[in-house]
Symmetry: C2
DNA sequence: TGAGCCATGTAAACGGTTACATGATTCC
DNA sequence: GGAATCATGTAACCGTTTACATGGCTCA
């Protein structure tokens, strides 16, 4: 029925609805929220805002700060409708994973035992590193709750639990590879 | 020191080492093994095999079946070295996730309760669907064990456990959203 | 004979990152 | 005065998917 939103348009419309107003702000918010499962770069955000403006899903207005050119964007009614339609869509949508450590783990029969264990250790370290990043942004998400934004916090809780589970799996696997190899 | 392998080159070299010989075979193996965390399409595989051949990491030989042109590839010693070096590399490598259902979950404050619950149900259904796909390929991975390929099976076990954990999380979250909403 | 799989490949389009460029403002 | 950060944007490049094209082989 309506326009199929491009991947980056999906975050942009959502972030505008949550209160971000400029390309810069959208990027900042993404970096402390969705970037682990839905990133976007300036090279995508700015052109996409223009396209959305031309398509009538957002409205642009000049809002310079001092001598600096600056454009604020807002959802139009059509933009709101497109966002809601996408959010309520009855499909799985995109699900893509690219995990180089997991690929190395898959091929680990080609490695000696020490190197194979190192791959698993790396997986654990990465999970622990991500857990730390999540804990850093947790206060932000907690603040949001008071303003009625419950789901960003729930999403973060999910991410935390997932990364802790993965770190646990890696620890266990490391120990198994130490005692008695891969038997 | 040596050539930085392109993303697709990394699977290709590994799959050749595990016994695949043609672009077609590589693609088949990927589809029943790494595709959930490291996919590749013909449009990448065939040109990449040519590049790898020119770079001296694989050797090509004509091996027609009947009247059909067909090229078999094999790792050269330099290819073996490049593969081992990449496998033993001391970094995290690529880790990318793009998950549209999770993005919808993040924005679910913009939905009414029924639609928000539907997003979580979708996450559960997707996990269950992936678990089923994994169970279908499990016999393949089990067969590999007898031929000394232990890690593909371990990777599958990890994937299974991860998707079951996710389905559990979604079930639990669905129940929480039913009783008392998001409180 | 026709369906379906085996097998190979190319071209176009798409989405994304990275590097580059610019200049104002803020803070030490 | 200089560094860092705020803010906006473009151009080039890269990797990937999709659609298209071809044609032989196998089996019902």
């Amino acid at each position: 029925m309506s326009i199929q939103l491009t991947p980056t348009a999906r975050v942009i419309l959502g972030m505008l609805k949550l209160g971000a107003r400029t390309g810069y702000e959208i990027k900042q918010v993404i970096e402390v929220s969705t970037r682990f499962f839905w990133g976007a770069s300036y090279g995508q955000i700015y052109p996409e805002l223009k396209r959305l403006s031309q398509a009538g899903l957002v409205s642009a207005s000049d809002a310079p700060r001092g001598g600096v050119k600056r454009t604020e964007y807002e959802l139009t009614p059509e933009g709101e409708r497109a966002l809601e339609e996408w959010l309520a869509a009855d499909d799985f949508g995109t699900f893509e994973l690219r995990d180089e450590l997991l690929l190395r783990f898959f091929f680990a029969d080609l490695l000696d035992e020490a190197d194979a264990r190192a791959v698993v250790r790396r997986i654990r370290e990465r999970s622990e590193w991500i857990v730390e990043r999540f804990r850093e942004i947790e206060p932000d998400a907690r603040d949001g709750i008071r303003e009625g934004r419950l789901y960003p916090h729930l999403t973060l809780q999910y991410g935390l639990a997932l990364m802790e589970w993965t770190a646990e799996w890696a620890s266990k696997t490391e120990r198994q590879l130490e005692n008695g190899g891969t038997q």
